[in-house]
């Protein structure tokens, strides 16, 4: 008999508790497949958030620490400094990372902690039944923006990748989505790449995964996928906002020290990176960032 489909080893046998059609399950699977394929499960230490994925340690077979709301990057920092050779990753929702945990994510990224963040952006607080998140789109109805998010009342959504791409230290920042086979494949490639960069000790990596919350969006799973495609991607363009893998490798090889942010080479590259990222952040798309990146790499 030929096995055509198999659960990744890095996932336990426990069935997911997520709502039908929720893409948290898909993203768990991608993380687990990446760990499997890179042979990293035994070296991995995850940090679980406060949010619907609070108990992802029921599903991940690797060691996991559960963190207080928003504090996962600080917890991961503590772990990584004790075990610099292990693969430490945080898995965080948009309320966890972009609201209460903003300070922790910005500073972990700014320090160039050699950890990986899987950032699950579903534009809402899922676990607490659908309140407005910093990432909630303009006009989006939530239980705390019942007539839709209004800029004069609630301000504007926060684009985390673009914001972190203004920092010098991060080595790899990419936004992907979980709503189609093509996007899911791309998401897996990105997560794998982030882990590879961490394994090489190069610096901070974050992959933002646009995700759905059918339950609190009040849509069917299929409508949710469509809504993500048509609305979220407009506000949160997919693509690479930072990739300094090559520079970081070069400066590591030259013994220039920890992370990309510390080497003289990285510093020289930083100005270009920041301006390219700023262009991307203005909605011109990640292509601009990638072009700027390539120009500097070349």
């Amino acid at each position: 008999m030929k096995t055509v489909f198999k659960k990744p080893h890095a996932l336990t046998d426990t069935p997911f508790h997520y709502c039908p059609g929720c893409t948290h399950g898909i993203i768990h699977r991608l993380v687990a497949e990446a760990l499997d394929e890179l042979g990293l499960e035994g070296d991995a230490i995850g940090v679980a958030p406060v949010g619907c994925a609070y108990n992802n340690y029921e599903y991940f077979n690797c060691d996991v620490q559960q963190a207080a709301h928003g504090r996962a990057p600080a917890v991961a920092t503590g772990i990584k400094r004790v075990h610099p050779g292990k693969i430490v990753f945080t898995y965080q929702g948009d309320g966890d990372l972009a609201a209460i945990g903003t300070a922790e994510i910005v500073h972990a990224a700014a320090r160039g902690e050699r950890i990986t963040t899987v950032f699950v952006n579903n534009a809402i607080y899922g676990m607490t039944s659908g309140q407005m998140a910093p990432t909630t789109l303009l006009g989006q109805v939530t239980s705390t923006s019942p007539t839709g998010r209004k800029p004069e009342l609630h301000g504007y959504p926060i684009n985390i990748c673009e914001m972190l791409a203004t920092l010098d230290a991060p080595v790899y920042i990419e936004r992907v989505a979980s709503n189609s086979v093509k996007n899911i494949n791309s998401a897996k490639r990105a997560i794998k790449k982030a882990f590879e960069i961490q394994r090489a000790g190069l610096g901070y990596t974050i992959v933002e995964v646009l995700s759905t919350c059918p339950t609190n969006w009040g849509m069917s799973p299929i409508e949710s996928m469509k809504w993500l495609e048509e609305n979220m991607i407009k506000r949160y363009p997919l693509g690479v906002f930072r990739d300094r893998t090559a520079e970081a490798k070069a400066s590591a090889a030259a013994g220039a020290g920890v992370g990309a942010g510390n080497g003289a080479g990285a510093e020289a590259g930083a100005a270009g990176g920041a301006s390219a990222a700023a262009v991307a952040g203005n909605g011109a798309g990640a292509e601009a960032a990638r072009a700027g990146q390539e120009a500097r790499n070349g």
Binding site: E41, G42, D43, A44, I45, V47, A48, Y54, N55, Y57, F60, N61, C62, D63, V64, Q65, Q66, A67, A68, R71, A74, V75, A76, T77, G78, I79, K80, R81, V82, H83, K86, I87, A103, E104, V106, H107, R111
Partner: protein, 354 residues
């Protein structure tokens, strides 16, 4: 024999932590404890350790959470306002059963208050501080030598019971220079940490550090386990110093810095024909209730002297359960009672009691 050095209190705490095997320190600057961070920033890189100046006290305590959960001896230090910010993390650590050491070099509050010595964080330290049913082990040194010994002991107790141990000092103690003698490393007792997240290596089931359990029966079992451990700690780790208590007319209870003044009060009162005893709790939690009952059995009254508006006095009253009249003398805002003030209060009380 070990060397004898003249050192500042805060630096001794840092040196003691390093000697106790702590290689991971996370902190955020605040007076009057900053010398701890300065010392760590200089020493840790020299010995392959980690010093991180975190973005906030909130982040610092969560870095301690991560490092402790990863199996390391980890520590943070701060002063009153910063300790308030760490309470969330401390509550999580209590439930996740993570051992670590936290230092509070108290200043006076409430609010931003002032940087002078005070003991107004007693309640916060011994009654939990954060949410939920938990305790820190709270050690209250009153000399630089004790800062060293109790810091080492704090790491031992933390590891042995998987709890957070707090060193509760104040600005006076932290800034004071005194002779200190470091002992040998037999003081250091390390424990096996098979529960830590170190990576499974695909050789064992995964380890999970968590403080959440949504099943009431299971969460009650967690609470019962914590409470049983707290009872063990109370039975094994309660520390107290008693001076001059036999035949004393009055017993003074005092901890930390202010207890040093009482030693002079004993001499002053002696000259006036009054015998004063001192009971100095060294562990504030577990509180030495039995010792307070025993040592004050023959006295007419008990007086609690504190640098706050009356906090430990409540635990003294609970310990005595009405067996003795209990009085209080305290100053706040960075002020300390003078010997004269305390002797006056004693005469006043004994006048009333006789």
């Amino acid at each position: 024999m070990a060397e004898r050095l003249l050192m500042k209190g805060n630096e001794v705490i840092a040196e003691a932590a390093i000697r106790a095997g702590c290689r991971h320190y996370f902190g955020y600057p605040i007076t009057p404890q900053t010398e701890i961070a300065h010392y760590m920033a200089k020493k840790m890189p020299e010995i392959g350790g980690t010093f991180i100046q975190a973005e906030s006290e909130v982040a610092a305590i969560n870095m301690v959470y991560g490092a402790a959960g990863a199996g390391a001896r980890a520590m943070t230090s701060s002063s009153s306002p910063g300790i308030s910010l760490k309470q969330e993390g401390l509550s999580y650590m209590a439930c996740a059963e993570l051992p670590a050491v936290i230092v509070n070099i108290m200043r006076c509050g409430p609010g931003l208050g002032g940087i002078m010595a005070a003991q107004a964080d007693y309640f916060q330290a011994v009654k939990g501080g954060g949410h939920g049913d938990y305790h820190l082990v709270v050690l209250a040194p009153n000399s630089v030598q004790e800062l060293y010994e109790l810091t080492v002991e704090a790491f031992n107790i933390a590891d042995r019971y998987r709890v957070v141990a707090m060193i509760l000092g104040d600005g006076m103690l932290g800034q004071m220079m005194e002779a200190v003698q470091f002992k040998d490393s037999e003081d250091i007792r390390k424990c096996d940490k098979g529960w830590a997240t170190t990576g499974t290596g695909l050789e064992r089931p995964h380890n999970v550090i968590t403080s959440i359990d949504t099943v009431p029966e299971r969460l009650e079992a967690v609470n019962n386990r914590l409470q049983a451990r707290y009872r063990d700690i109370a039975a094994n780790e309660t520390r107290v110093e008693a001076i001059n208590c036999e035949g004393a007319d009055i017993i003074i209870t005092a901890f930390g810095t202010v207890s040093r003044i009482i030693k002079n009060v004993i001499a002053d009162a002696e000259k006036e024909g009054v015998r004063v005893g001192l009971i100095r709790p060294i562990t504030l939690w577990p509180f030495p209730s039995q010792a307070i009952r025993d040592y004050s059995a023959g006295a007419k009254a008990v007086l609690s002297v504190e640098l706050n508006a009356g906090q430990m006095v409540e635990d003294v009253m609970i310990a005595l359960a009405g067996a003795k009249p209990v009085y209080f003398l305290g100053r706040t805002g960075g002020m300390a009672p003078t010997q004269l003030e305390i002797v006056g209060k004693i005469k006043d009380i004994l006048g009333r009691a006789s």
